[in-house]
Each structure stands twice: as C-alpha cells, then as structure tokens.
C-alpha cells in the first residue's frame, strides 16, 4: 500500500484537525501558545521508520504508547529523541530540570502530553473517517528506538508515520507519531480514506 497524493492530503488534513485540538488543550496547560503542525505523513516500513528517526540505531528515545481498538486496531506511539522529550517537559512544566533523565513525575507529565495529543488525533480520525474506536491509558517507555518499536512485529508491516512539530515560546521540538497497523486495519483505513475523499469531492 502506497499513499496517493489525494490520500496523503486527506490524511494530513485529518491529522492537522486533530493536532489543532491538542494544541489548544496544551496551550491551556502551558499557559502560553502551543503550535502543533504535521509537516509530513508517510507509510513506511519499520526499517524506514528506524532510519528516519536517527542514524544511530542505539539512540535513546522517550515514547508514549496508547492502544486503540474497535473497527481498527492500532498501537499509537508518540516518540521523541530523549533530549527533546526532556526539553518539552521542561518547557511545559516551566522549571529547570538539572537531572539528566526524566524523573518519575516528569515521565507522567510526558504521558499526559502524549495522551492529549494521541486522543485528539484519534478522535479526529474516528470522526472524519467514521470509525468507532476505544482507547487505553497512556504508558511511557524509555529506551532504544528499535526496542520501543515492537520487535516481534514483522518487518514488512506498514507503519503510518507522521512527523509532529511542537512550537512553544519560539522553541521548536520535533517528535514522530507512529501507528502500527495490522493488515486488516491498513486495508480498512484505505477504504475509509477513499470514502472520505469521495465525500469531500461531492461537497
């Protein structure tokens, strides 16, 4: 499965609606405007996601994982390079973090940021593509990127990957949102996307 230009644009639109909702919730939390954009959406293999994330396969990342189930089954992972996640939490919490790693409470803050973003994005997907979904609570995982990206998955399975850009008080932080899709879900997504495009064209 490869995304056509129309499919790509429709997905970017759906995701941007979602992150827009998340941005207003995050702005309320941060007490200053948070801008979220999705500059890129791609269907990638696991290897391509790894390559895109870092040239170093041992690079440490922080991730927030939530599972969404219903008509579609997907694991949603919001991933940041470790240093970026520290900065993001630092900016959001508004204090200095002299520790080199995320502490227990900071991990929870990252889980909340991820929860806000993932819920909003999935709510938009569920609305726009007319898919009934239910979600789990967020979990934070710290580790090496290839470990976090589920090793037991078959390498050929497609990952829907989006780049998410956070801009808070003129500072920019980039993360990746990855949806692990099974074959049925990938096919369903394609059908629902086609239906959405048709609806949009009829309007």
């Amino acid at each position: 499965m490869k995304l056509s230009e129309l499919e790509h644009d429709a997905l970017v639109e759906v995701f941007n609606l979602g992150v827009g909702q998340a941005a207003s919730a995050l702005s309320q939390l941060a007490g200053e405007p948070v801008l979220l954009t999705v500059p890129k959406v791609e269907l990638l293999s696991k290897q391509a996601v790894l390559d895109q994330f870092s040239s170093d396969p041992g690079a440490r990342i922080s991730a927030v994982r939530q599972t969404f189930e219903g008509e579609l089954c997907t694991e949603a992972l919001l991933m940041f390079p470790a240093a970026q996640s520290l900065r993001l939490v630092q900016i959001m919490v508004g204090e200095n973090l002299p520790l080199e790693d995320l502490g227990e409470m900071e991990q929870e803050a990252l889980a909340e940021i991820g929860n806000i973003l993932l819920n909003s994005v999935l709510a938009s997907v569920s609305d726009q593509l007319e898919l009934a979904l239910e979600g789990s609570l967020p979990e934070v995982e710290l580790g090496v990127v290839s470990d976090v990206l589920l090793t037991e998955h078959d390498h050929s399975r497609p990952f829907l990957s989006l780049q998410v850009r956070f801009e808070i008080a003129s500072r920019r932080i980039e993360g990746y949102l990855v949806f692990v899709l099974d074959v049925c879900s990938a096919a369903l997504l394609e059908r629902k996307l086609a239906a959405l495009i048709k609806r949009l064209q009829c309007e």
Binding site: A25, P98, M105, E108, A109, A111, N115, L133, L137
Partner: protein, 330 residues
C-alpha cells in the same frame, strides 16, 4: 482438571473497593456521583451522603472551569481515557491527609486517571459510567524535589571556589567556551579582564596565610559586586588571579569596569606594608574580541594575559590593554 471458582459476590466486591488504597469515584454521563470509595471520602473529609447522588461540581465547586473539567468533557465526547499528571496540574481535588489541617498548601499531590466505560460494557450494563482514579503521589513529589535540590547543590558546589565563594577555574573554562561560541554566533564582542593582586607573595609573607586568604576574599567580593548584569561572570582563575568575563561588552566598557574595580579596592585601603603605597592594589589586563569563524578560542585569554603582564611591568596598580603595535610586535 481445575475446578471453577466463582468471582466474589457483590458484597465481596464492595469490601474490595472499600479497602482499595487509592481514590475511586464513579460518575454517570450526567456527572452525578454514583460511587465514592472510603479512601476518597476520608481524604475529601466528606460523608458519603454529601457526595453520592450529587453532581460532581456541586460536591467539588473548585473543579468548575478547571483543566480537569475540560479533560473530563473530552473523555465523555471521545470515549478515550484521560490522564492528569501531577506536574502539569495543580492538585485538582480538595483531598488532604487524614490528619492535620485542610489548608490549600496541604492538598495531596494527585495523579488522576479518567476512564469511560467501553461502549459494549455500557450496552450490557444499561448505562455508561465514568471511572475516576486518584493516586496520592505526595511522597514521590517530595522525593523528586529532594533529589533535584541535591543535584543543584552538588552542581553549584562543583563550580564554586571554596575560599572566595566566586566561580572556580572549572566554571570559568565552561563559561568562557560558552560565551565565545555565543559571541561568534551573535556577532557580538566579548571582553575579558584578568586581575592580579599586586605583591601578593610579600603580603602573604608579611601577614601570614590566614590574612592572605581574607585579603583574597575581600578582593573577590569587590570584583563580584561589579558584575551586575546577568551574563557577567567572575571566577578565581589562579592563585591570586581573578577573571571577569563580560559578554556583549566593548573594550571601552571593559576598561571602565576594570578601572572601577581597581579604584574600589584601593578605596578599601587594606593595609599592605610590603609595597610603596602602603595599601593593597590590583593590576588588570583587558582584552576584547569580536570572534571570527576559525579564530582560536583562547585568543582573548592570551591577549588579556599579555595585557596583565604589561600592567605589571609598567609599575602595577594600573589597567592595561594591548595596542595594535604591541600585537604586531609579538
């Protein structure tokens, strides 16, 4: 073959919920409180009849319009669970330790999870409920704060000169490298003043090391009192040498600061029998650079050091900077 063991009775489950060591609050979609467990009630310091059967915002009016309220609404709209972390949210619910005063600063630090009932369960149950779980993370927050305070203290200690209480050489080297890079990026001048106590060896010989230490402390205090802008850095560079790093300062400004420091120390009139004037004086070497890409980072340091040498050679108690002729001569 395993025998089938029945799940606990309703009464059994009630007992379990009554003893769970975290707060459990169950709402319906109209936000009526349908259940609150004893853990929560005791910490809210409310009897069950003032909580159960009433609307959430009637029970806890402080929640109205809060981030909690908007996330709860989001949860009801989307059907996705929501997490409210302690770090990003003030203690939302008015919960307090079971003993002691119920003042705002004594509120328990809370981590809150809001979970909607899945559609399938709701259909079977005939109604949709929302589960709110509250964990008391007060000890974890205190532990983390302690850890951070200690890390900060250790960091400060590692960068402080034990005698004079100004930055040490390690701190200077770090700040120097940082400010050089910053000046290079921002295309701004960076100035450095190196101070040296005149005839310090004879001072030590004459008054002893204890008095010598006190003298260095006094000089460091005077110089540091002049570094009033947030980026100015004063550090003990060597034995009786003190460095003052002045970002975004031109040569004229740095010369003025250096002269001011010399004047202030002379005004203190610290007795020094070993030199002609009879009072303690300083010499200072000043340099200013507008760093260029590819330029060696220690340029500024070398120039200030040579200017200081010149000040000493020309008779001490003065401020010197290298003239172009001096540089070309070298």
């Amino acid at each position: 073959m395993m025998s089938k063991i029945a799940a606990p009775s309703t009464l059994g489950f009630e007992w379990v919920l009554g003893n769970v060591q975290l707060g459990v609050l169950v709402l319906d979609t109209a936000l009526q409180v349908r259940f609150a467990n004893p853990w929560l009630l005791r910490r809210a310091r409310l009897p069950a009849n003032q909580v159960v059967g009433r609307e959430l915002y009637e029970v806890f009016p402080g929640l109205r319009g809060s981030h909690f309220a908007s996330r709860l609404q989001h949860c009801l709209n989307t059907g996705f669970p929501v997490l409210l972390s302690e770090s990003l949210n003030p203690a939302e619910l008015p919960l307090y330790a079971t003993t002691g005063p119920a003042t705002p600063e004594k509120r328990l630090k809370q981590s809150i999870q809001i979970m909607p009932m899945p559609a399938e369960v709701a259909q079977a149950a005939g109604e949709r409920l929302v589960l709110i779980q509250v964990s008391d993370v007060t000890p974890a927050v205190a532990r983390e704060r302690l850890l951070k305070q200690q890390a900060e203290r250790m960091h400060a200690m590692a960068h402080l000169d034990a005698l004079t209480d100004i930055g040490n050489r390690r701190h200077f080297d770090l700040m120097y490298a940082r400010e050089w890079r910053q000046a290079l990026r921002a295309r701004r001048p960076l100035s450095l003043v190196l101070f040296d106590v005149d005839h310090f060896k004879s001072y030590n010989d004459h008054y002893g090391h204890v008095q010598g230490d006190a003298c260095l402390k006094a000089v460091a205090g005077v110089i540091e009192s002049l570094a009033i802008r947030p980026l100015d850095v004063v550090c003990r560079y060597g034995g009786e040498e003190i460095a003052m790093l002045l970002p975004e300062t031109d040569l004229y400004g740095a010369l003025q600061q250096a002269q001011l420091a010399l004047d202030r120390v002379r005004e203190r009139a610290l007795e020094h029998a070993g030199c002609e004037r009879g009072v303690l004086t300083l010499s200072a070497g000043v340099a200013c650079e507008l760093p260029e890409p590819g330029q060696a980072a220690d340029t500024l340091l070398l120039m200030a050091d040579r200017a200081l040498y010149q000040a000493k050679r020309q008779g001490r108690d003065r401020v010197c900077t290298l003239q172009l002729a001096d540089i070309l001569q070298a």
